[in-house]
Symmetry: C2
Subunit: 275 residues, 2 copies
């Protein structure tokens, strides 16, 4: 096989693998697609794996056996995770972002697909061993980080609504008390969105007192499923006591107490107990 | 340079280019990163371009001149577009998806990151010549296709809210009449989300009478910006007359008239005037 041919195949193989994170693709699929022997494919995969290791681009995992194959894991840790979280933290540390009620203007960050792709990969890396069957969040702003975590895990995304909509069919609703406003809120989920026994990873954009995350856990419980982790992009330092016991924030927000003029955001670079 | 080294570099280069669709990366960046001459990089890019052409994986575009560089365009047309739209259409053509009021249960499709990535690429391909500065939608379900269109274009996503929230800061609101329910609805957008003069591509998940899209166009107009296109994933065949004159649906939904038992969804594979 001429040299050029191999280089072209490597480019296509890399694109196809990385476009489908976490999907186990049978080796026979690629052998047929490129019309090559398994030994040739294995050599190609060794090269891609070595390249990805060298440049910290994620992991190429080969699973042996009848149900085996190869998959790309968009692992993002260490320097690759720190860089992203530090850039987001620096962008958020702007006094003009402070809104009434101790909130922070974050929409431009949450609607930035590139940062959310990276954030999804960081969540996947930190919750990898929780083996979730699906990722769950509540509208609206949690959808983006949750979607990208679902992408990194290659799992379905389930979105609870703040109200019950006609376009969802029959649903289960709960009432919960918002931890920060102390007001009663409602949340609902289409019954067909979640099956009993599923392992659910909850991802949200912001946690203050933890009422929303607690409400989501309650909804998971009502549907007979199990919460295997709670991840939030930003958690406030205060109140230190949240309504959920275990959660993994990627960023912690300080200085939103009354009268503060400038938020301070601290990236969480250490591994936590949940990892 | 040993042969293995080139193969590894091609894998890394492919991953780095395809992870940042539409971003023009200076050739000097890759030359420094891989410590190679510009001629070597050019040869690598020729190989990747040839591979992507062969396997219909998108376009590698080189821009010459001082502000030049290379970028990956996730173009998805022809068979690559048809396959995705036909699979989505087949999945949606299920009588159990019909909901009261002529709606269709689509959440599982809209929250499927893989299909939405492809849908975003199809929107990008069809609206490529509209050169939008940003992609706009309204919460909740339009967010996913719009986010992925924003990814394919590498442009910011702007999301209007159904109500005004404390976490958005000051906003502009409008009232509009829903085309299907004839009820007055409100929609708002944070003032800092959109600047005057910006070219806005509106993307939504579903269009029945077109009231929401018209409301979004009104919001764009109020903020001194310009709508350069309206794309929807699914538009109903009836009513044939929509409140917006020009729109591009990827799928057209038939058979949701009263008493229909089975939806029929027709992929729109032809190029439209807006392309």
């Amino acid at each position: 096989m001429p040299r050029l041919r191999r280089v072209e195949r490597i480019a296509a193989l890399t694109k196809m693998l990385t476009s489908r994170p976490h999907e186990l693709i049978p080796l026979s699929y690629f052998c047929a697609y490129f019309d090559i022997a398994k030994s040739t494919l294995s050599e190609d995969l060794v090269s891609i794996r070595k390249s990805f290791e060298t440049f910290s681009l994620g992991e190429i995992e080969t699973v042996f056996g009848a149900a085996g194959g190869v998959r790309y894991l968009p692992v993002r840790r260490g320097k690759e995770a720190a860089e992203v979280l530090e850039r987001i933290a620096a962008t958020l540390a702007d006094e003009e972002r402070i809104l009434a009620g101790g909130f922070l203007y974050m929409s431009d960050i949450l609607y930035n697909w590139y940062w959310m792709t990276a954030v999804g990969e960081i969540f996947m890396t930190r919750f990898r061993h929780a083996r979730p069957d699906c990722i769950m969040t509540v509208e609206t702003k949690g959808i983006l980080p949750a979607m990208m975590a679902a992408r990194a895990f290659n799992r379905p995304l389930v979105v609870a609504r703040r109200d019950s909509r006609v376009t969802e069919g029959s649903s289960i609703g709960i009432n919960y008390v918002s931890g920060s406003t102390k007001r009663v809120q409602t949340m609902s989920l289409a019954k067909r969105a979640l099956s009993a026994g599923q392992r659910v990873l909850i991802i949200d954009d912001f946690m203050k007192a933890g009422g929303t995350a607690k409400g989501l856990m309650q909804l998971v419980h009502e549907l007979g499923a199990e919460t295997v982790g709670v991840g939030v992009l930003v958690a406030t330092a205060e109140p230190a006591h949240k309504l959920v016991e275990q959660y993994t924030p990627l960023l912690v927000l300080h200085g939103m107490e009354d009268g503060a003029t400038r938020p301070h955001i601290e990236p969480q670079l250490q591994r936590t107990k949940e990892e």
